[in-house]
Symmetry: C2
Subunit: 155 residues, 2 copies
């Protein structure tokens, strides 16, 4: 069954390119051997840099199921998820994921996947993207409010 779902993700990726909709990536979310949501790369089509196939599929699955937690679901992606999508898969609490092409194939087609896997583990000062921590004491206020809140919904 894994191969069947993965082939559907690959088909979505090819169709996305052929129809001029966006990048060569597709993904499906499966529960109990049934596809509950699909996604393809819509970065340029929707002017949304976060609209990778996996994120689109996860958002579609959550919208359909009306929950932010996809425990019990599996994701199939035409390509190895980039760090954004990999972390999204964790946050969505998916059970597992399967993919076909790897990050190096994506890099070979002009995408930043390998570069991002190198950048994420670095310290602020070592990354290509400038960043800096400021106001560390004031930054504690939201977490104090959260820990004190009696109406919060942990996730």
């Amino acid at each position: 069954m894994h191969e069947t779902f993965l082939r559907r993700a690959i088909q979505l990726a090819v169709e996305n390119v052929e129809q001029g909709r966006g990048g060569p990536f597709g993904a499906v979310v499966v529960i109990d051997n049934e596809i509950v949501a699909e996604g393809s790369n819509l970065v340029t089509a929707h002017a949304d840099p976060t609209a990778h196939a996996e994120i689109v599929a996860i958002r579609n699955a959550c919208a359909r199921l009306r929950r932010h937690d996809l425990r019990g679901a599996v994701l199939y992606s035409s390509c190895e998820p980039c760090p954004m999508c990999l972390a999204a898969i964790y946050w969505a609490r998916l059970d597992a994921f399967y993919y076909a092409a790897d990050r190096h194939a994506a890099a070979g087609a002009g995408f930043d996947d390998t570069f991002l896997y190198q950048q994420i583990p670095l310290d602020d000062a070592s990354r290509a993207l400038p960043s800096r921590r400021l106001l560390p004491a004031e930054g504690a206020a939201p977490f104090r409010a959260w820990l004190d809140s009696e109406s919060k919904i942990p996730y």
Copy 2:
């Protein structure tokens, strides 16, 4: 000016908790010393595990500007971005980002940020989340279609 924008992100985070909307995180996107978009954590409110403050702010900025590329913009976040949001900041081509609380403060309040920074760099076999590569040869088809496409919009 950095402190002013960062304080606005922290204020959004506190208000988000106080109003019972979601997690203790806020972010703003700034261009030419003007806030063009704001975001707060809407994971539970929107049933969307990808709706972190930074992603919401980036998506709002892109929707307002009608482009997927935020070159020339800076992001301010109440907390250090998780790997999903950090990679999204790269994909959006933001110039820089500033933050107040760090990943350890987030972890202390019950969020997975530190854990995810540990997981992302690992091999498939070493991660807590099961994953596997299948159909590597078939996975090349979308990239072939992309490289052959004359109508593609690279990003």
